[in-house]
């Protein structure tokens, strides 16, 4: 596969490491019993869609960016690639 890095252009996916569903950005904050259920769902349950999937790839043999790649799991077509940091901020993550 080829991932079109938003800063670097097309790169072989072999340079990247795959993590999984981009929802992993939405980590429940806090600790103790009150987040246990939310964290259980966050850590263990997956949409696993047959179709468009937002997912995290890490450019380990490149510029060490984490990327959010939107890829169709049926065709492997990639429709967008963004820096995960931008996505995270858009989802309200900060410090």
């Amino acid at each position: 596969m080829i991932i079109k890095h938003p800063l670097l252009g097309p790169r072989d996916a072999a340079e990247f490491v795959y993590l999984g569903d981009a929802n992993m950005i939405k980590r429940p904050e806090g600790f103790g019993e009150n987040v246990e259920e939310a964290m259980y769902e966050h850590v263990y349950l997956r949409e696993n869609p047959a179709g468009e999937h937002h997912e995290l790839w890490y450019h380990e043999q490149g510029d060490r960016s984490w990327l959010v790649v939107t890829r169709n799991t049926l065709t492997h077509e990639i429709s967008s690639v963004e820096l995960a940091r931008d996505v995270a901020r858009r989802k309200g993550r900060s410090k």
Binding site: M1, I2, P10, D12, V17, L19, M24, I25, R27, P28, E29, G30, F31, G32, E33, V35, E36, A38, M39, Y40, H42, V43, L56, Y58, E60, R64, S65, W66, T75, H76, E77, I78, L83, A84, R85, V87, A88, R89, R93, S94, K95
Partner: protein, 967 residues
């Protein structure tokens, strides 16, 4: 015998004669021949045996679709099984042997299978060999297996090398026949970056095998002219002997270039290069494959595809027979007769199925001699040219989601459905079956691609040829024939097997293939799938497209496993990382152990030491009683800087880090989000905004990856920056009661007293008169200890200087084994304990985990099964009989309990011999372990034949209070 079937013409170099061997017999050929054409030239007809019935096999085709003429090429370690004679380019001294026969090729004992064929029909083996039960493995299967397979492996290491490579282009053109050449010409002239690849050693495709004219000249000459023009274009790369074997995602194609297979030996160059081609567009111009028809005994040597007969006659100057009959259902067959007659070869009969004439049976045990027609007629012939029509080579179009579509007018499947993005198809591969149309289509498709990619396109016009007639009648199976009719020549699948498969309910194409093995041969169904499908359609009374379609998986034709591996084998399977003291260690008796990619010194043997234990015991004693030194460079080192660095690290580690003072080091415990221990190490604060984190050797890369994830995805606005410095610093652990004395000699102007530089202190400093360094007072051995780091370039000089400085203190280098002994003595956990199944409670660090902050892993610490009272806990173990050497992996049982999983109490994770205690010790996980110190248990290890009693104790076998390291 000297090439008795050689005739005039052809694209071979008659000025040179090459000698080659087949089954130890010397024969001659010319440059430009394949092994197949050379064998035919020498009137060799029997070249192999089929898989199941061991029927005689000859040469069936002239290309990579060959199902029958498989040989073992070369000798010794270079033996290459299952090689198609039709694709082997002749070279001087070539040696080939036939395969899959017991006894000689001519007298194969296993030909008896042919007589038993009524009982060996499709799927027979699923229905028998079941009784008595034990006989399958003891008798039946060994017999079946002994007959299995085709050619053999040498059993020796492949003596050749292979390489990989990467190419980039605008358009890759697959196939250099008329469509591909026309396309390449248009694309090249338009200025596109073009790769033109063809599996043959001579580009031109069917133009080399036919007698057509293009642009007013002989087709093969036209091809030569085009190739010459392309060769001088800088933007075009011509790749002959190159098979594009697979279409992968996003325009990536796999290609195999055979660099030296046509040479007597490879010299010092790789035999084959496996290219990964990155393309924006692809033009599939792979042509078509001719197919046979099913009639009685249609598998004899001498029965060939008609197009291949023309190839041998026109391209190679070889007559495949002296009396040739033609059996056809289309106009191509007639062309064969024309070409043969033009060469003066006797065409004994044209049997045109469209006129109701069919072949019902043949005769000739090891080579065709008689053909029986319907209505009781027969013809003498030593070669039968069969043309059942052509199937477009749709293969690469179906490597993604493409589903070929049926076209009635050509009675064939053409590329259909969703093609790999960027792929277009031209020529015969697209079902365009006549030359003029093919040339025009190649030109037009390439022009369109060029326009698409922003090039103005070629101004030149398409090459021209006169169009021949192409009319076919789909006749697949001669039903009048009562004899066995082959569909898959290699695997011996006959029409009867297919009808039986239908009868038994194996009716989908997938079931059919799996039940009968149709299409599973080394030609991957190129010559058999279509025929099989047609026979199944006939049996079921459905049309062919209703019955199914033929899709193909990579590779287009088989690829050597060595080529996929490339250079990665032997010592070069993976890179090797060496520590800065590697050369010094090597000079000083070290043996090395693999630690991931690293090579680490495991011990330093000295003269007179009889076993590794002698060396390790000495190193441990010397360190515990004096001072030892160990290269610990392999631990991961990550430079963490930023205004928010402390806050960041505090979110990563399970224990508190926010208030770590500058100049101090702290042990850090890193969890996964599920609460399991991920890694541990020490982190030093060098300044308000600067930390250095160490990780375990194994997790260095993974921890950096996770830190980057936390930094970019979880807390993107923290001002924190990361870079690995693992390789930048040579780091040595100096341990033992005399380590302070040594370090005082090493570092420049620094007070190392316990007050000035206490346990867990760190600082930057210089050593040996000015070399920059970092000093940490940390201990893994439990002794008074330091770690000293210098820039890696000074690592080699540093160890030598340290050893010189430590001579009077008897400074002893120690390796990973001694390190392991000392950490087990101290009860420190390492990889055997932190195996991804362990949480902080299990290793007694539950209290270290903060309950006052959020950090990775904070939320999932207290699920019911994690807080079980009978959970596993880390303990120490010692043998009751002190002479017993414990082994890791033993499971614990209460004496008298049955040895089953329900009574399993835990297991031994690590063991060592403690020279200080004078006996073997262990660490392990035990249910409720911390409450069971003093209890005696069985350490049960049947896999190692050990069953001994151990006493449970504290994991801190030595210095449980930790006084030594603080001293």
């Amino acid at each position: 015998m000297s090439q008795s079937n050689r005739i005039d013409g052809g694209q071979i170099d008659r000025s040179r004669t090459l000698k080659f061997q087949f089954n130890e017999r010397w024969l001659t050929a010319h440059p430009g021949d394949t092994l197949a054409s050379a064998l035919l030239a020498n009137a060799v007809r029997l070249v192999g045996r089929s898989f199941k019935y061991h029927r005689p096999r000859g040469i069936f085709s002239a290309g990579s679709e060959e199902p029958s003429a498989l040989v073992q090429l070369r000798k010794g370690a270079a033996l290459e099984p299952n090689t198609r004679a039709t694709t082997i380019e002749m070279f001087e001294g070539l040696s080939a042997t036939s395969q899959n026969h017991r006894g000689s090729l001519e007298h194969d004992i296993l030909a008896v299978n042919d007589l038993l064929s009524p009982f060996l029909s499709a799927g027979f083996y699923y229905k028998t060999f079941m009784w008595p039960k034990a006989f399958w493995e003891k008798l039946y299967e060994p017999i079946i297996r002994s007959a299995a397979g085709l050619g053999k492996l040498s059993g020796m290491e492949d003596p050749d090398t292979y390489d990989h490579g990467y190419l980039h282009c605008d358009v890759v053109i697959i196939g250099a026949g008329p469509a591909g050449l026309a396309a390449a010409l248009a694309a090249g002239r338009a200025g596109l970056r073009v790769i033109l690849a063809d599996e043959d050693f001579r580009m031109g495709g069917r133009l080399n095998a036919e007698t057509y004219a293009v642009d007013g000249m002989d087709g093969a000459d036209w091809a030569l002219g085009v190739i010459a023009e392309l060769a001088i274009m800088n933007n075009v790369r011509l790749m002959k002997r190159t098979t594009i074997y697979g279409a992968y995602d996003h325009g990536i194609f796999g290609a195999l270039e055979r660099m030296t297979d046509h040479l007597p030996d490879s010299g010092d160059k790789p035999r084959q290069v496996l290219w990964r081609i990155y393309s924006k567009r692809a033009i599939l111009a792979a042509g078509a494959t001719e197919r046979s028809m099913a009639f009685g005994n249609n598998d004899r040597p001498g029965i060939m595809l008609a197009g291949s007969v023309r190839t041998y006659v026109n391209r190679f100057g070889v007559a495949p027979g002296r009396k040739i009959a033609v059996f056809t259902n289309n106009d191509d067959g007639l062309k064969t007769a024309e070409d043969l007659r033009a060469k003066g070869i006797d065409v004994t009969r044209i049997i045109d199925a469209r006129e109701g004439d069919v072949v019902v049976n043949t005769n000739g045990r090891k080579g065709l001699n008689t053909i029986f027609l319907n209505r009781g007629r027969h013809v003498e012939a030593d070669c039968l040219a069969v043309s059942g029509g052509w199937s477009p080579n749709v293969h690469l179009s179906s490597h993604h989601r493409g589903r070929p579509e049926w076209r009635d007018d050509i009675a064939a499947f053409v590329p259909g459905g969703e093609l790999p993005p960027g792929m277009v198809v031209a020529g015969a591969a697209a079902g365009t079956m006549t030359l003029a149309a093919t040339l025009a289509e190649g030109h037009e498709v390439a022009t369109r691609v060029a326009t698409d990619l922003g090039k103005s396109g070629s101004l030149a016009t398409a090459p021209r040829a006169s169009d021949e007639i192409f009319a076919t009648a789909p006749i697949w199976h001669v039903k009048e024939s009562k004899h066995r009719a082959w569909v898959d020549l290699q695997n011996d699948v006959t029409t009867k097997d297919i009808t039986q498969s239908y009868r038994e309910g194996f009716r989908s194409v997938e079931h059919l293939k799996r039940y009968t093995t149709l299409g599973m041969a080394t030609e991957q169904g190129k010559t058999s799938n279509m025929l099989g499908l047609a026979v199944m359609a006939d049996a079921s009374g459905k049309t062919i497209p209703e019955t199914g379609t033929t899709i193909f998986r990579p590779p287009y034709s088989p690829v050597a496993i060595g080529a996929f591996a490339g250079r990665a084998r032997g010592k070069n399977f993976r890179p090797t990382r060496r520590t800065p003291s590697h050369n010094w260690a090597n000079e000083n008796g070290a043996s090395f152990v693999e630690a991931g990619m690293w090579k680490r010194a495991e011990w330093y043997a000295r003269p007179g030491e009889k076993s590794w234990r002698d060396s390790v015991d000495r190193e441990v004693k010397a360190t515990r009683n004096g001072v030892g030194i160990c290269d610990v460079t392999t631990l991961g080192k990550i430079d963490i800087q930023g205004h928010d660095a402390a806050e960041f690290i505090n979110k990563i580690y399970a224990n508190a880090f926010l208030k770590l003072p500058t100049g101090k080091v702290r042990y850090g415990l890193m969890l996964r989000e599920d609460g399991t221990v991920y890694d541990d190490g020490t982190t030093a604060r060098l300044s308000e905004t600067h930390f250095v984190m160490t990780t375990t050797t194994a997790n260095a890369v993974l921890v950096l990856r996770n830190l980057e994830f936390a930094r970019q995805c979880l807390w993107p606005d923290l001002d924190v920056h990361l870079i690995s410095t693992t390789d930048a610093w040579a780091q040595f652990s100096v341990a033992g009661p005399k380590s302070r004395a040594l370090m005082q000699k090493v570092v420049d102007d620094l007070d190392l007293s316990n007050e000035a530089f206490p346990f867990m202190a760190c600082t930057t400093c210089t050593v040996f008169g000015g070399t920059p360094a970092r000093l940490f007072r940390i201990s893994f051995s439990g002794e008074l200890a330091y770690e000293i780091a210098v820039p890696a370039r000074y690592g080699d000089a540093m160890i030598r200087a340290m050893m010189a400085a430590g001579e009077e203190l008897d400074l002893t280098p120690y390796g990973t084994e001694a390190l392991g002994v000392m950490r087990i003595e101290k009860g420190h956990v390492a990889g055997n304990e932190l195996n991804g199944q362990t949480d902080a409670r299990m290793i007694g660090l539950g209290n270290m985990v903060s309950r006052k902050k959020d950090f990775i892993g904070a939320a999932l610490l207290d699920r019911p099964e994690q807080v079980r009272e009978d959970g596993l806990q880390l303990v120490g173990l010692r043998p009751i009989d002190q002479d017993v050497i414990l082994t890791a992996g033993a499971h614990f049982f209460v004496e008298g309990d049955p040895e089953d999983m329900a009574h399993d109490q835990g297991w031994m994770t690590s063991v060592a011999y403690s020279p200080e205690l004078g006996h073997s010790i262990g660490l392990g996980f035990l249910k409720r372990g911390r409450d069971r110190h003093g209890e005696r248990l069985r350490a049960f290890s049947p896999i190692r034949g050990q069953d001994v009693m151990v006493e449970v104790c504290s994991p801190h076998h030595i210095d449980p209070e930790g006084d030594r390291q603080r001293g």
